[in-house]
Symmetry: C2
Subunit: 585 residues, 2 copies
């Protein structure tokens, strides 16, 4: 049997003596060099003979070749990557062929992974503890060395990296706000990596810069700002978008802070919901610390039982802050909180903010922003058009691959005024094109990853109605879960009433707890149930869902649905699994 | 001829009546369903008959089939994507086959692009003005609509996006600090997109979190910190890494700022090089504004003719600042400035900083960090081990695809102390694994893109020596350029002496300027030369190189070499092109 790698000059191994194989290769070469090489590669790498033969027998009776010929044809080892190294790939001389072989081999690994991701018979994850992975799993060694590894080892490493990871696109992965694996988005991200450029000037990213501009305008139109006017930028994530939001508000009302620092503006205070474990607070709190406000100057607002800010509390706290000599500068209204999925009452917050004669305010829709695409659900963000800026993360509810987060600003000029440092070497006014398209000067970053293309491509491929359909479907599914468990034995809802978003928060009570009298002992036991079930889930790898405590509420499950692959059967599977794993706790 | 798409059930088009084709497909199916489908797809989409036949005739004389059979076999149209939409792809029922077909079609587009990227006979770019692209190019319409587009259109959009973009990996693209297209890095990024997860917890990114930890440790060892101790994190870019650096310094010495804001620490000042157009200044200045110091509290240090900070100037300015009641908190030493490639004298800066009894300081190697991998060149960063933190961007000199930037911190605990907000819902202490591996609480971000894998994979594939070789080669090439043009007629160097990094800064003087007396008129004319040549370069698409003014120096070219594909012939091409385009200016 022929075991040599294809020669670098092109074509199959010169050592091949098998006529049938050569003939096939010849025919393959007839498909143009590129195609032929691909087919050749596929023919060569097949060494899993039995599976092929049985599959062949089932499927085809019109063989061109008799079985023995076919056997020898397929009795090829894989392309021998064990003698190939990174240095043999492009731009190396004669590197084109090994490069194509290598990339196609990687694609084979990736498409297999994609296939398995959507296959409910595969696990969501194959859990190992950190020390296990660090000690090395069956030849998967994470340590880096001075000498290069062969491409064969690199391919093994790719397979192992996926093997020991988590299939975030699996229909039963519900662990995060960002779930699912969108195929168009994936293709878009592959292209983005291949283009490998940077958003800071039109010069080096002409198409992407224009796509960003048009997409941001479209998003502003959907928010409801007249003619989609305003500004915006894609940032590396919701936390950075929120940081932009606070910075633009500060620049708008206290531009001197840019040059003189925070001492130029006395006792500025910010407001956000008290839900201490909510992501919006978390990021606004990080921004308060980073930007020099101080976390003590972030004032927390009381919420109702459903997790929504109480407008009267905002009013009282603004009045109080002013009485103490503080200057209210910013209020964050959350559109879709992380744990409860709560939407703050934007209109009421805006009204109070105006009456109080304070400065800026905003709404944030990192998790809930996607609902703007749904005619059925966008009323939950009613009033969003009154915000000065909006954070909108397409990488959450809209299923765009990570990272994809936008900050949208209603007033033009504030974003660039806030961040512009006039770096001449980047943004030369003597360029031959209209430099107003260069974006670098309005970012806090210099180099900036291309996050727009996958989103633009998904929008093209699905249309606005495609996103709407996805969002409506996710909310329908969460309604299904809610109605299923609301009155089901062993379940207790964390808050009353239909959830506003896809967040369904609940306790599962094992039979042994159900009849216990309310009290500390019951609470203590219940507190341990969700972590235990989660640990068992991860060990068995069947599904994943998040949990957390919230204020005085002990650990509960937070189910969120943003995964386009999820169906009612997966919801049923989740509850069955919780009951199976939790029954004896 | 058969023009139908493969049926969703698998296999080739049921409408195919061509026996040879069917037979081929049958054999292809014999290679297991997956493989067979691929081969089938390739067979089907070939409609470029002439090329195939001639290629076939040249290469193979052992046909299994006679020519007429082969002709009809290859007379297939492409898989018909015009009736397929995003909704037909996974997770749709029967979506596996169209998904694989679509992804392979995308890969075909991408591998073609990769091939052309390294082909010197292709253009670096096909320049169009913004208004041209916005008006729509031959069916390439950037506008988004409510209704979905067919997958055929999506594939056309992918091709067009690449067509009108810039080949940043082309051997003659020298425009940025980040150039080149590393095949291993590309494969790594494709895998990262496919895994589509988030760095914030071990739970959802076990392998990537560990890779980050091990790689950061290795980088700290290379910096020279004992046993690689310390902390660090990958951030979305050098500007954000520098922001982390300033934040950690502030937290270390003025921890109250985190809670009380900048008013808790009076008149903190920062120091950096005066090179106003340098990226390090640009990002440090942006950090000064964003973090609440104010740009006026960033004190600029004088540099020598080569662009290096003058230590005595630092000493004088620190003494002066203290006399004015300011508190020096941070000095930025640049290791590889953006325009000149200058390395500040780290030891001397550190000595002064200690003597002055001030607080924190750092070295930054965003552009020059890669030189630490070279035994020949790492002396240029001598003293870097005395820094409190180091910014190191593998996406620059080391050729890692964008984005990949690390901030490394010498002291453990500062990074997490600075950014921790204890968000319980993310970092539950009752998880079943060692939660010290969760990284989210030390980031200013919450969600964080996986930037580590491509870098880890490249390190595995090349070894430390592979990076060293790349860096030495780039510096050799820049030495070649420098020695070539140093004494060449029509060139003038911007600063004397061998460049420290790969930055070669020079003016090209067209013959009409060479004999002009020094004076304003000559300056004015020379100032316009580089922009004009650059514009002509972009119009002709042959090569790209940056230019900018610097202080009182009129526009000059800044050549940087980080592209692994570049050779001496490309350097020669660049100078020839500059002379060709600039001769008559």
């Amino acid at each position: 049997a022929c075991v040599q790698a294809p020669s670098a000059e092109g074509g199959c191994s010169p050592g091949c003596r098998d006529v049938s194989y050569d003939a096939w290769c010849g025919v393959a070469h007839g498909c143009t060099r590129k195609l032929g090489m691909k087919i050749c590669g596929f023919l060569q790498k097949n060494n899993n003979l039995e599976e092929k033969i049985s599959s062949f027998k089932e499927r085809s009776s019109k063989d061109l070749l008799d079985n023995s010929d076919r056997d020898s044809r397929f009795r090829r080892t894989e392309t021998d990557f064990s003698n190939l190294f990174a240095r043999d790939l492009l731009p190396a001389k004669n590197g084109e062929e090994p490069t194509m072989q290598f990339l196609l081999e990687v694609v084979d690994i990736l498409t297999n992974y994609v296939r398995k991701t959507f296959d409910r018979s595969t696990k969501v994850l194959d859990f190992h503890h950190p020390h296990q992975l660090l000690e090395g799993m069956e030849g998967f060694n994470l340590e880096l060395s001075d000498q290069p590894e062969s491409l064969e080892q690199i391919l093994v490493d790719c397979r192992d990296t996926l093997k020991y990871g988590v299939r975030t696109g699996h229909p039963r992965f519900f662990n995060q706000l960002s779930t699912g694996l969108d195929i168009i988005g994936l293709a878009g991200e592959w292209l983005t990596s291949t283009a490998n450029t940077n958003m800071f000037t039109y010069e080096i990213a002409p198409v992407f810069v224009l796509m960003e501009q048009l997409t941001l305008k479209k998003m502003r139109e959907i928010i409801g700002w007249p003619d989609g006017e305003g500004d915006g930028i894609f940032s590396p994530g919701g936390a950075i978008s929120n940081m932009y939001s606070v910075m633009t508000a500060r620049y708008k009302f206290f531009p001197d802070v840019k040059t003189k620092g925070m001492t130029a503006a006395h006792r500025l205070v910010l407001f956000t919901s008290e839900h201490v474990s909510l992501i919006h607070h978390y990021s606004i709190k990080k921004a308060s610390a980073a930007l020099g406000f101080g976390t003590e100057n972030l004032i927390l607002l009381s919420t109702d039982e459903r997790g929504r800010v109480i407008p009267a509390d905002l009013e009282a706290k603004v009045i109080d802050a002013k009485a103490r000599g503080c200057v209210p500068m910013f209020v964050n209204a959350t559109a879709g909180s992380t744990v409860y999925g709560a939407f703050d009452p934007i209109h009421e917050i805006a009204d109070i903010w105006l009456i109080c004669d304070t400065f800026s305010w905003r709404a944030k829709g990192a998790w809930g922003g996607g609902l703007l695409m749904s005619r059925k659900h966008r009323h939950k963000l009613s009033g969003v058009e009154r915000a000065n800026s909006v954070t909108w993360n397409p990488h959450k509810m809209m299923g765009v691959p990570l990272q994809c987060s936008a900050i949208l600003v209603r007033e033009r000029g504030v974003l660039s005024g806030c961040n512009s440092m006039c770096a001449g070497y980047l943004f030369q006014p003597d360029k031959q094109y209209d430099v107003s398209y260069d974006t670098g000067d309005k970012a806090i970053q210099c180099g900036r990853h291309v996050d727009i293309f996958k989103f633009w491509l998904m929008w093209k491929a699905k249309g606005t109605i495609g996103f709407e359909h996805h969002i409506d479907k996710c909310l329908d599914l969460s309604h299904y879960l809610y109605t299923k468990i609301r009155d089901r034995e062993g379940y207790q809802m964390v808050f009353e009433g239909e959830p506003q978003h896809t967040n369904v928060c609940f306790w599962y009570l094992p039979p042994g707890i159900r009849d216990m009298p309310d009290g500390q002992e019951r609470r203590d036991r219940l507190h341990k149930v969700a972590p235990k079930i989660k640990a068992l889930m991860m060990e068995s790898g069947t599904t994943m869902v998040g949990y957390q405590p919230q204020g005085d509420k002990v650990n509960f499950f937070r189910m969120v649905i943003s995964n386009p692959a999820a169906t009612r059967s997966d919801i049923d599977f989740l509850t069955d699994e919780i009951e199976r794993l939790g029954h004896d706790l």
